[in-house]
Amino acid sequence: MDKFNSLKGIAAPLPIVNIDTDMIIPKQFLKTIKRTGLGVSLFYEMRYDNDGNLIKDFILNTSPFDQSKILVAGDNFGCGSSREHAPWSLKDFGIKCVISTSFADIFYNNCFQNGILPIVVSPDQLDQLMMAATNQIEFSIDLPEQTVKAGNHSINFEIEEFRKDRLLQGLDDIGITLGYQDKISAYEEDKKNKKPWLFKDN
């Protein structure tokens, strides 16, 4: 899995609340059997008109925000469908960090599987960062230190230790769990006796 340590760059402001995963990557792009190539379709309906032409004033279509590695967005980012195509499309576009006041649970989990850092800040802090992003002030994100810096603002953010480690080290989650194979087998043996109806062959 991709690692994340620190990041510098300008951030794209997207001051909309409840940005759902349908908005991030609409359904017609879920027909792929690959994880890559979705960046061009990120925020498709906001980025392109009915004829597929770029909508010039949408933030991610304007320079320098078309090169953003960071997104600052309104409350409850990533709500809706579980599609991992949402973080895949963000990552493919080049976005490695999203800042909001809150994230939907499944999207939040999916980010960490793809080397993307979601950062939760307070509503006041979000307002400050939204302003800084709009003014094209450079952001500096440091995961080991758990800080976001932009101009005069320096914000400490919270993150669970295991998630932080996973990003810093780019760990293979399945590989780690397979290290507990004995425990999984022991659990299954125990339950076969106690709840046999769960182990009837389907």
Binding site: C79, S81, S82, I176, T177, K195, L198
Partner: protein, 469 residues
């Protein structure tokens, strides 16, 4: 969470499935059943192949194609990408020895309809699927939640998932439901009350006499939309209604184990003095039939109400959000909801595509015709729901009224298949999401119950079932 003291239903299922703690402090939770569909699984199977990992327990996994499938002419999927995705699922399941209900199998249908229908879904289980509406199965007292594709791969490889415990929330709805109010209205009302992020980080247990008085179909509608309240999962205590529903279904516990299973299931309801992180109590008499006016499931209003005015919003952000929604929806503040004219009616989805929903619609539209300007479509949740409806003559009633009668699938709930709204079209939909573009680019969705959608199909406007004769 301690092992001592009173426990919630969630606490009990959690501790029964705890395989152990990993060194990083996370919990490994055992997964009893894994449901797989064509859209969120190909990359997971590809990941297994790259790492040369087998499926840990193929017999605990059940697969079906639902999101992408046409609801007419399904022998030949025209969209080449959809066709590849469905074929890829068939190939992957065959390769790993996973049970797959193919498109010609009568048991095919929406994954969250067929789990309960086959008796796969049982109380006390942990169930996951690469789909957020997995919360549906919580209606049986199973801990069921949606996961991403990387987690699908993790479950395929290990039959476990890495989790931390959720917080407990209980929403109790008490009293007899008023005339015209049903499970869809209850859950829309709840989402309107707590908001689409109201349940974030929580598992919501629904309780109270209004909830426990619902059929299994009604309970599934409630739990289905828990994700629209931001919750990880929804749960309802298993009871005799639950056991009666499961008994005799193909994957239900066999006669040898039935009594043992029921004894265990009966131990699952939350202890009386269990502690919840949040409690909400609702009197059902305050609930009307509900409709959404905007582009988030929290944008709900009574069918007797008006489209809201952005100037009445309490914060600047909320005001902007209402303005954006109204512009997208093409609605003016202060418009009566029942003055909103419709173009399409969609009845179906994992929220409201079960036999009980179809029976309600049929009882309302019997011997009537849909409005001449409206196109109406019914998509049964599964091949077996379709068959049952046809045996009861429901298809004839619906077709006579002017509805199109389709094959089973997710269809226009998300419009991955050809069933989509055109830009500007307005739809009364029994599905679960009214997001911008959800049912088709520029399409305008009003979520409501099957009863309201049926009445609205006849009048051509959003209609109150209580005024409908």
């Amino acid at each position: 969470m301690s092992n001592q003291g009173p426990k919630t239903l969630f606490d009990k299922i959690w501790s029964e499935h705890l395989v152990g703690q990993r060194e990083d402090g996370t919990s490994l939770l055992y997964i009893d059943r894994h449901l797989v569909h064509e859209v969120t699984s190909p990359q997971a199977f590809e990941g297994l192949k790259i790492s040369n990992r087998p499926v840990h327990r193929p017999e605990a996994t059940i697969a079906v194609a639902d999101h992408n499938v046409p609801t007419i002419n399904r022998q030949n999927i025209e969209d080449p990408q959809s066709k590849i995705q469905v074929e890829t699922l068939a190939k992957n399941t065959k390769e790993h020895g996973i049970q797959y209900f193919d498109l010609m199998d009568q048991r095919q249908g929406i994954v969250h309809i067929i789990g309960p229908e086959q008796g796969i879904t049982q109380p006390g289980m942990t169930i996951v699927c690469g789909d957020s509406h997995t919360s549906t199965h919580g209606a049986f007292g199973a801990l069921a939640f949606g996961i991403g594709t990387s987690e699908v791969e993790h479950v395929l490889a290990t039959q476990t998932i890495v989790q931390n415990p959720a917080k407990n929330m209980r929403i109790s709805v008490n009293g007899d439901l008023p005339f015209g109010v049903n499970s869809k209205d209850l859950i829309l009302y709840i989402i309107g009350k707590i908001g689409t992020a109201g349940g974030t980080g929580h598992v919501i247990e629904y309780a109270g006499s209004s909830i426990m008085g619902l059929s299994m179909e009604g309970r599934m509608t409630i739990c289905n939309m828990s994700i629209e309240a931001g919750a990880r999962a929804g749960l309802i205590s298993p009871d005799q209604t639950t056991f009666n529903y499961i008994q005799g279904r193909p994957y239900a516990p066999s006669a040898d184990h039935w009594d043992q299973a029921v004894e265990y299931w009966s131990s699952l309801p939350s202890d009386n003095d269990a502690n919840y992180d949040h409690e909400i109590v609702i009197d059902s008499s305050e609930i009307d039939p509900m409709v959404t006016w905007g582009t988030s499931p929290e944008d709900v209003v009574s069918v007797k109400g008006l489209v809201p005015n952005p100037s009445s919003a309490q914060t600047e952000n909320k005001k902007k959000s209402i303005e954006r929604s109204l512009e997208y929806m093409g609605l003016k503040p202060g418009t009566k909801i029942t003055d909103i004219k419709l173009d399409k009616i969609f009845i179906g989805s994992c929220t409201n595509g079960r036999i009980e929903d179809l029976r309600k619609v049929a009882s309302i539209v019997k011997d009537k015709k849909i409005a001449s300007h409206v196109q109406a479509m019914i998509v049964p949740g599964s091949g077996l729901v379709k068959k049952q409806a046809e045996e009861e003559g429901i298809d004839i009633i619906l077709k006579d009224a002017g509805f199109e009668w389709r094959e089973a699938g997710c269809s226009m709930c998300l419009g991955m298949n050809p069933d989509q709204l055109k830009p500007g079209e307005r739809c009364a939909s029994t599905s679960n999401r009214n997001f911008e573009g959800r049912q088709g680019r520029g399409g305008r969705t009003h979520l409501m119950s099957p009863e309201l959608a049926a009445a609205s199909a006849i009048t051509g406007n959003i209609s109150d079932i209580r005024d409908f004769t």
